[in-house]
């Protein structure tokens, strides 16, 4: 394991240090005093690497990342897991806007609230299904233009009827699971609200099991509460727009 003190280091220098540590064969990197540095873990392809971070990370944590396990003790800003390919990002704190932006695989677990447009344009292909779980609540445009993947909002310590608006606007694939409920006025016209069925229950059980391990709580208890599912009405909502 190698320790990196990021105090007063700029983003470029910190990311260079991380890459050098990997080249030196380190499998565990522990970074302290992070404050606003962007792109941590950017584009790293490595299935055996674990990065532990203490501090407040800058935008685009784990962008384009492929396989790395990142654990952050502190809050994240915007763009966590931007275009994530695979790996895990776990945030013990809150995160900003566009978590999981265009992710095409991997897992993102956030302990507390997140900002707007979380899960925007996530996509999936065969076994690559990005999964984003939010312990707190989420802002408007949740799952905007979502083409695939799974979003789970747990609303722990939040109102059970979500305050967010325009949820699932432009969505044409994937699933959003919400513990609690939404008002029909607050969802996009491309989605429907459904009850969860047995298959959904199995999916949630697995995902919440993983999430609970990260944050040390019995997530199965949550499954006793009411969950709803948002799903796209059509996988090609604009198919007729230009062709007919």
């Amino acid at each position: 394991m190698i320790n990196i003190d990021a105090l007063n280091m700029d983003s470029r220098e910190l990311n260079k240090k991380i890459k050098e540590s990997i080249e030196d064969g380190h499998k565990e990197i522990n970074i302290i005093n992070v404050l606003g540095q962007r792109f941590i873990g950017n584009g790293i392809q490595n299935k055996e690497l674990k990065i532990t971070i203490n501090g407040t990370v800058g935008n685009d944590l784990g962008m384009f990342m492929d396989g790395v396990d990142i654990e952050l003790f502190g809050n994240a800003q915007d763009g966590v897991g931007n275009t994530l390919n695979s790996g895990t990002i776990c945030v013990h704190g809150r995160a900003g806007d566009v978590v999981g932006y265009a992710a095409r695989g991997g897992k993102i677990f956030i302990e507390k609230d997140v900002g707007y447009r979380v899960g925007i344009h996530m996509k999936e292909f065969k076994e690559n299904v990005p999964t984003v779980v939010i312990g707190g609540s989420a802002g408007s445009f949740l799952g905007e233009y979502m083409a695939g993947g799974i979003l789970v909002i747990l609303n722990l310590d939040s109102p059970k009827i979500m305050k967010a608006d325009a949820i699932g606007t432009g969505m044409h694939g994937g699933k959003i699971y919400i513990r609690g409920d939404v008002n029909a006025n607050n969802i996009g016209k491309e989605v429907v609200i459904l009850d969860i069925d047995d298959d959904d229950y199995k999916i949630l059980k697995k995902i919440l099991g993983d999430y609970g391990k990260k944050f040390n709580f019995n997530s199965e208890d949550l499954l006793k509460d009411n969950f709803i599912k948002l799903k796209a009405i059509s996988h090609r909502p604009y198919g007729n727009l230009y062709a007919y």
Partner: protein, 363 residues
Amino acid sequence: MIPALEHIPSGCAAAGIMNKSGIRISGDAIMDMMSVMHSRSNGLGGGFAAYGIYPETPDNYCLHIMFDTESAKREVDSLIEENFIVERQEKIPTKIINEIKDPPLLWRYFVLPKPEKLVAKNMHADDFVVKLVMLVNTRIPGSYVNSSGKNMGVFKGVGYPEDIGRFFMLEKYGAYIWTAHGRFPTNTPGWWAGAHPFSILDWTVVHNGEISSYGINKRFLETYGYECVLLTDTEVIAYTFDLLVRKHGLPLDIACNVVASKFWKDIELMPEEEKKLHTALRMTYGNLLLNGPFAIIVATNNYMMGLNDRIKLRPLVYGKKGEFSYLASEESSIRKVESNLDDVYSLVAGKPLKVEVNKDVCA
């Protein structure tokens, strides 16, 4: 790599600090906040607003003015002498630093309108000052009023915000509200008067975003005597708040419902009275709706307020520690000056977050 293809991770930075008891702190903290967000700016504009910095002359309007030439200054001087009692005038102290090139002449005037002029024109002092600002900006080429409020001032120019702060030696000022901006100009030139904050009287605005309704906002404001000539869209926001709150007497939260109005689909579902209010606001002030992405920090002598566009297309984070309130584009900026916050969260789209100074701070 071809230099032009190198990634410039800019996007504008905004920040603010307020102490609600009126304890004045040096400019070091706000410069520290901006330095964390260095990469959000590109060196083509930085600026600061500071409140409570001229306690020895709290009742005088302080005009911070930029001049391109000595002759522009002479013209403005004679206009000021004709209309104002000048308590004091001086060059704004600056320090030559390598990063800041070709500054204009920077002066400040502590003034009061001549009573006989106000009587002759039958005008309130605030209106008289606004009129002078517009005259200087539009009629005297090469001269621009950066701020015109009491016990406050705007310091801005072309450069990274931390460098602009050092250039103006802001560590030597004490203010109970500081706001700041780092610019990444998109549609208009990065020039000295075009840096943020934009200001009229004691209103200041710093803005991350882009006001696509600028044209219609500008034309509407012109009918009320506000002339937008500084080539940056944010200018309309400062004049809009002056018009709505000072001139038309709207409460601040109602003014926020003009610039970030409720959506018609949500108005439809409101109780009757509320529906009437929001319909009236949209009908009356539709031309002052700010369209496009924005995160703004508005300040006056009495408060600091953060506001986002209705669909939250720009970030703005609030933090609190004891008597200090903070706003910034990034949480890391706040944590640079206060790592142990009582509370921290992102603003909600279209919902103002206002923090006020105690009543006795500013009468």
